[in-house]
């Protein structure tokens, strides 16, 4: 385990009653990496992200984010978070939403906010009320809110849901650019073609990490030609394992 890891979890467990949403995870993500959390609905991706940010308390295990033990309010100023469903103030404009979240994190850089708005291609709608926006536009606004305070670490929970293929490509090229500037990204998804674009993947199922590694490595390991097949291979293995 590297000492300069941006994010580290150690035997992380989260139980909701008898459901083990996160079941003994050991993750380590380095600086500037795009780490994909890939798994079906209900595999524990959202719970994991909420644990990482300190919104949930682990049942057991520990988390370190940017070198600090979670929960830690202060480090949240350097963390960007995008929820699965867009979480925006409906009666504020796009621009007002973005500026609000930037200021709550202690940053207010007008030029940067303009840049972020341009990035998600919302220049024409920046004065529109969120109420009037379609799902895709809201998703873009949400991303802009997560970026508005120049975070060092981005936790994106299914950021491309409801985004058209063209914009999805734009999102991903932007994620790559951010990573190149040293921002670390954790992106959850259940879409396999997105998984291809990550530096490293973690296949999640029933709160456990089935396998971890680059897309190429996971494919060659299983002798499959697509990630989808690779995932199914690991999933089948884990089922066998369960039965044994």
């Amino acid at each position: 385990m590297t000492t300069d890891a941006i994010l580290e979890t150690n035997e992380l467990h989260k139980h909701f009653g008898s459901i083990h949403a996160v079941d003994g995870l050991n993750l380590s993500v380095g600086c500037g990496e795009i780490y994909g959390l890939i798994g079906p609905n209900g595999s524990g991706k959202t719970t994991l992200i909420r644990l990482l940010i300190g919104l949930l308390r682990p049942t057991s295990g520990s988390i370190r984010l940017l070198g600090e033990v979670v929960p830690n309010k202060a480090i949240l100023a350097q963390v960007g978070y995008m929820t699965q469903a867009s979480a925006l103030y409906e009666d504020l404009t796009v621009c007002e939403n973005i500026a609000f979240f930037a200021e709550m994190c202690g940053k207010h850089d007008r030029a940067w906010i303009d840049e972020v708005i341009e990035l998600v291609d919302l220049q024409d709608r920046s004065r529109s009320l969120v109420r009037a926006l379609s799902g895709g536009l809201r998703q873009r606004t949400s991303l802009a809110c997560a970026l508005a305070h120049r975070p060092r670490l981005l936790l994106l929970d299914e950021p491309t849901v409801g985004v058209d293929p063209q914009l999805r490509a734009t999102f991903w090229s932007y994620f790559r650019r951010l990573a190149e500037t040293g921002v670390t990204l954790i992106v959850s998804s259940h879409v396999m073609d997105e998984a291809e674009r990550c530096d490293r993947l973690g296949f999640m199922r029933q709160g456990k990490l089935l396998a971890e590694g680059s897309a190429a490595k996971l494919r060659s390991q299983t002798g499959t030609s697509t990630l989808e097949e690779a995932f199914l291979h690991f999933a089948a293995g884990s089922v066998k394992g369960d039965l044994r």
Partner: protein
């Protein structure tokens, strides 16, 4: 037109209402609670009004009846009625006792009261009233006049007092009793709206921010922004304070407009300091915001917010001393009144607006309001523990 579709739709609507059990229950029990409170209040007999009597009357000796002290007889008559709890006072205590509210009126019988009556055939009652509650003042005046009339009537035919009809001079009232009332606060020109207006202003301010805070917090949860807020460095206390400041400002603007309207357009009497008035309202707004945040935890939608009206707002109106004095409430309801923030605001505002009192006099009520606000801030911050670390 298909009756089947109509029935299907009706069934779905009913199913939804029944699924929201609390709404269904409150639709039935909420009105019952309010009506019960109302019935208790309307039927409750007002408590005996504490009435001071300064009796310096020397009386006179009549050949038939011996010594007669008219002041004493009226005092006895007053003491015998349920309406008053009579307290004997000396002249120098009068203003202090009226001021601190331990008596609400004082009758002063001067030493020549009986003599004066015999001479003029007219009893002139010197009544000193606290005066801030006009309805109360009128009740005291009427009851005291009645008691004096009964006393004089009981003396009729005894050779003392009124042998026949009282001498009626041109242009003078036929009644043998007249009341000369003086007021410590307010005066005859004060009416019920003067008494109710301060409370009405307080109530509006609190009610307004309560609803705003409750709905705003509810939205914060339902649209997911509370989760986003929790993922920023913002602490619970910062969030509560932000809401208080933001909404409290609107409450003050609202009050400023209402106050302007009531004082200059409706010509409500207004004596005290404007700054103090706004301080009380600001405290009440803080209370309202935090009550709203607390209540929002128990509501799933805006409709359910309305359900808090019978539980949070109406009891405050009914029990907080708005229309019924707390001392008139049945004993088992009085402790509830002391739990109502509105009760303390009512007292402070009336003291400021009707009596022109300052910080020195109203600070106990302010201190309690500050205490309640503090407790509520802590409670609403704790309530958010679930979502904001």
């Amino acid at each position: 037109m298909s009756s089947r579709r109509v029935l299907t739709l009706a069934r779905r609507v009913m199913r939804q209402v029944l699924r929201d059990r609390r709404t269904a229950a409150l639709l039935v029990f909420g009105p019952m609670l309010i009506l019960t409170l109302g019935a208790i209040l309307f039927r409750s007999k007002p408590a005996a009004i504490p009435l001071g009597v300064v009796n310096e009357d020397q009386g006179l000796t009549s050949p038939v009846m011996g010594a007669v002290v008219l002041g004493q007889r009226i005092t006895d008559e007053l003491a015998a009625s349920d309406a008053f709890a009579v307290v004997a006072l000396s002249r120098h205590e009068v203003d202090d006792r009226l001021r601190d509210g331990t008596v609400q009126g004082v009758i002063v019988f001067s030493e020549d009261f009986t003599a004066h009556f015999l001479e003029n055939r007219q009893a002139v009652l010197d009544l000193r009233l606290e005066g801030s509650n006009p309805a109360r003042s009128m009740a005291i005046t009427a009851r005291v006049t009645e008691a004096a009339m009964r006393t004089l009537a009981s003396l009729a035919g005894t050779g003392f007092g009124v042998p026949g009809a009282p001498q009626v001079r041109e242009g003078e009232a036929a009644l043998p009793v007249s009341v000369q009332a003086t007021y410590l606060f307010g005066g005859e020109e004060f009416d019920t709206i003067d008494f109710v207006a301060p409370v009405y202003i307080a109530l509006l301010a609190m009610f307004f921010v309560f609803l705003l805070a409750c709905v705003a917090f509810l939205r914060e949860r339902s649209q997911g922004t509370m989760e986003r807020l929790a993922a920023t460095p913002a602490t619970r206390v910062e969030i509560v304070l932000g809401y208080m400041l933001g909404l409290g400002l609107f409450a003050l603007i609202q009050v400023a407009v209402i106050l302007f309207f009531t004082v200059w357009v409706l010509e409500i009497h207004y004596l005290g300091s404007l700054g103090l008035l706004f301080l009380v309202i600001a405290l009440l707004a803080v209370v309202g915001v935090n009550l709203g945040i607390l209540a929002s935890a128990f509501a799933r939608n805006e409709f359910q917010v309305l359900q808090f009206l019978p539980l949070v707002i109406f009891p405050q109106i009914l029990l907080g001393g708005t229309f019924w004095a707390v001392s008139d409430l049945p004993g088992y309801l009085q402790p509830f009144a002391y739990l109502m923030p509105l009760y303390y605001a009512n007292r402070a505002l009336r003291d400021v607006m009707l009596k022109g009192w300052g910080l020195v006099e109203i600070w106990p009520n302010l201190a309690i309001l500050i205490g309640i606000a503090g407790v509520l801030i802590v409670m609403s911050a704790l309530m958010m523990r679930r979502e904001v670390a």
